[in-house]
Symmetry: C4
Subunit: 240 residues, 4 copies
Amino acid sequence: MLTVPPLAPGLTTDLIAGNKILYHFDIVDAFGHISVRHDADPNVYVMARHLAPGLVTADDLVPFDLDSNPLIETSHRFYSERYIHGEIYKVRPDVQSVVHCHAPPLIPFGITKAKLLPVYHMSAFLGTGPNVFEIRETGGMTNMLVRTAPLGAALAKVLGADTTVLMRGHGATMVGSSIREAVYRAVYAAQNAAIELQALQLGNGEVTFLDPQEAELYDRYSGEVAHRPWNMWLREVGLA
Amino acid sequence: MLTVPPLAPGLTTDLIAGNKILYHFDIVDAFGHISVRHDADPNVYVMARHLAPGLVTADDLVPFDLDSNPLIETSHRFYSERYIHGEIYKVRPDVQSVVHCHAPPLIPFGITKAKLLPVYHMSAFLGTGPNVFEIRETGGMTNMLVRTAPLGAALAKVLGADTTVLMRGHGATMVGSSIREAVYRAVYAAQNAAIELQALQLGNGEVTFLDPQEAELYDRYSGEVAHRPWNMWLREVGLA
Amino acid sequence: MLTVPPLAPGLTTDLIAGNKILYHFDIVDAFGHISVRHDADPNVYVMARHLAPGLVTADDLVPFDLDSNPLIETSHRFYSERYIHGEIYKVRPDVQSVVHCHAPPLIPFGITKAKLLPVYHMSAFLGTGPNVFEIRETGGMTNMLVRTAPLGAALAKVLGADTTVLMRGHGATMVGSSIREAVYRAVYAAQNAAIELQALQLGNGEVTFLDPQEAELYDRYSGEVAHRPWNMWLREVGLA
Amino acid sequence: MLTVPPLAPGLTTDLIAGNKILYHFDIVDAFGHISVRHDADPNVYVMARHLAPGLVTADDLVPFDLDSNPLIETSHRFYSERYIHGEIYKVRPDVQSVVHCHAPPLIPFGITKAKLLPVYHMSAFLGTGPNVFEIRETGGMTNMLVRTAPLGAALAKVLGADTTVLMRGHGATMVGSSIREAVYRAVYAAQNAAIELQALQLGNGEVTFLDPQEAELYDRYSGEVAHRPWNMWLREVGLA
C-alpha cells in the first residue's frame, strides 16, 4: 500500500486544475470526475476522493489500482463510478486521463437517434461520431451507475479506440493522452453538441459536418492543440 | 404565540442557504420561496417574511401554523402564496421542506401537453412525470395565485405522493425530506426541463427517458444524493 | 431654460438604478434608454444624454420638453430616438416612465407572425399581446430609427393604451406608471419571450397562455408587484 | 526588419482592448485573433503572437508584412492562420482591421443552407448576407485551417467587398475600417445569428429581415455606430 510513489508535481497541478476547469465550463457540476494514470506506474491511476470537482485539493487525491481499489488507507468515500476509469486504463494503454461527466448539452445525444458529429475543426476528435453506451445491454435494469468492474469493462468496450463515449440517460466519458487533452475534449464535445443541435434545427436536419478525412487531418496536425488554451483556462479558474 | 421554540440551528442555516442557492441557480428570482417544517413541532413550518429569497437573513424567518397563520406578531407582510406550504405539510407528513418557484425552464411543461420526464439519473426523482395543477379546475378565473387554503389544498391533492407538481401559467412546487433534498429537486427539475426540450427537438419527439424502474432504483440507491452538492453550493453563494 | 427644477431625489436614484438594472439583465446593451416624466412638470421628461446606459450618472441626466428639445445648454449629444419618449408622454398622461430597448428575446416577435402572449402571471401585463410597429407604414424606407416627432407619434399610436409595443427589425418600448414598473415590464417581457419560444417549440405551437381575464385579475391585484424585486435588483447592480 | 515604426499608441490600446472584448463576449475563446493595419505603413499589419486573445499584452504584438512574414526576430510562434489577415489587407485597402473567430452562434450558418441576414438595425452591416467560404473548393481535403497564402487569397476573394465571410466547418472573418468597427461587427454578427435562429424557429422559416435598402440607410447613417459601445466595453473588460 505505502509503496505508491507521489504523482509528478506537474500532473498533480494539472489534475487539480482540470477539476476546476471542468467545473468552470459546466462540464461537471457537483458530480463527475477526472483521473490521470500514474506517471511512475501504469497500473495505478489517481483521482479525487468522493468530492465535488470544484472543491478538490492535492490532499484529496487518492491512488487506485486498475481494479479501482484504493491504494491508501483512508476513512473517506470514493466515487462509486471509479470503475469507468480503471477499466478504460486496463484496455487503453494510450490513455493517460479520463473524464466522466453529465454535461447537459451531451445528454440529448445519448437519448435520441441523432449522432454527435464534428461541426467544426475544434471538435475534429469526434471523428465519425462516438458510440452510445446502453447500460441495459449489460446490466438490465440498473440504477444507471457504472459501479462495478463488469459495467466499467462494458463501457470501455463500447468506447473502443475512440476519444469519447456517450452514456444513455447518464452522460459521457472522454479520454486523452494527457489531462489537458481529456479536458479539451470534454469542453469541446459539449460545445459541439450545443452547436450541432442548433445547426440541425437551422438546416432542418441537413448539415455539412466535417468530412472524416478533414477531421483526421486536423487531428493529426494539431497534436498539441489541447495544450493551447490551458494558460487561458488556468487564469479563468484563478490558478494563473 | 410566544411558545414557538427556535428552529434547530442547522435548519436555520440550511434554510437561509437554500434561499440563496435557489436564487443563484435562477430557480427563484425576486419571487418564490422555500420553507421547512419545524423540527420541534410538526404542526409548524418556518419561512421568510415577504422578501426576495436572495435577501433573506435569520431575522426574516417567521413560524406559521399549518393553516398558514403567522405565529409571531410582526408588522411585516407575508408571501400571499404561503398556503402552498401549509396545505402540503398537512397532508404529507413525510415532507420536511417545500420549494415554490417560477423557474423559466419549467414553465413550458405546465402550458403544453409535453410531459416532464427524467432524461438522466440526476432527475430520477421525476419518476413517471409530475402532474400539472390547473387552477381553473378549483378556482375558475383567478389571478393565478394560490392565496387561499382551498387552493393550496387543491394543489396538494394534485401533487399527491409525488416529489414535484407543475402549475399551469405559474411555475412549480417541489417537496423533500429535507431542505437539501427539496433544493436539489428544484435545481435538477429545471435542469431536466432544459435538457428535455433540447432532446425532444433533437429526436423529433422520440426520446428514451429513464425507465420507471431505473428511476426508482436510482432514487432508492441515492437516498443522500441531495446532500452531495451542498458544500459546493454553499461555496457558490459565499457561505463556505 | 434655467427654470427646470431638479428632479425629485428618489426619481434620480431610480432612473440611474433603472439604467443599470436594464443593463444587468441584458435588456439594453450599450444602446437603449429609459426616461422618467418630471415630478414637478408633466411637460418635461428626464433622460440621460447620449451614453451607454451602464455608464449613466446623475451628471448625465438632461431634461427635455415633450417635443424632445433639451432644456439645458450642453455640448453633449442626445439619443437620436428621444422622440419615442416625448411622443408617448404627450398622449399617455398615465405614463411616468418609458424604456426603449433591443432585448434579443423580443426581436423574433417583431419580425414573425407569432404573437407575444403571457405564459405566466409574471408577465400578465402583456394582456392580449402587444402590437408591432412597422416603421415602413409611416416612414417608408428608413434607417429604422425613430428619430423624428412624426415617427415617434406613429409609434405612440400603435402602442395605444397598452404597456408594450414591439418594433419590427428594431426592438421594443415599454411604459409604466413608475420607473420601477417600466423596468419590471421590460425585464419580464423579455423573459416571457424566451419562455414562449420554448413553449411553442415544446407544444408544436399549442400553448395555453393566460386567459385575458386571468391576466387582468393578476394585473389588478398586483398593482405594486413591480416594486417587489427592486431591492434585490439594487443589490445586483451594486447600489444596495 | 528593424525599420518598422511603432504602432500609434491609440491603435495599440485598441488592439489589446479588442482582444479582451472579443474574449469577453465569447466571440473568440482561447482561439481566434484580431489584427490592425499599421498606421505608418499600409503594407504592414500588427497582430499578437500565438497566444490566447484574453492574455495578449503590448509585448505580444508583432508586425507582419502582407505576405504574413513577421518583421521582427523572435523565438515565438505565430498564428498559423495569419494569412487570413495578410491576404485581406492586400486586396481591401479600405480595411484597417480583421477579426477571425469561431463564435458558436455563427457556426450553424456556415454548415447549412440558411442565410445569415440582418434581423435588426444593429447588424445592418450584414446587408444581403455574407458568403460562405468552402475551403474544399480551393484546397480539397485539408485540416480546415487557412494556413497558406493561396488559401487566404481564396478566402479574401469570397469575402469580396463585404464586411463578413462565413467559413464552413470553421468560423467567420469580419473586417472594419477600424478595430472598433471590426469588433462591433463580430459582436453583432454573432448576436444576429443567435436571434435569427430563434426567429426562424418562431416563424417556421418566415421572417421579415431588414430590407437591403433599410440596411444600407442605417449603415450610411451610423458611420460611427461602432464607436458608441466602446467605453462601455472597456469597462466590462476592466480597462476603463
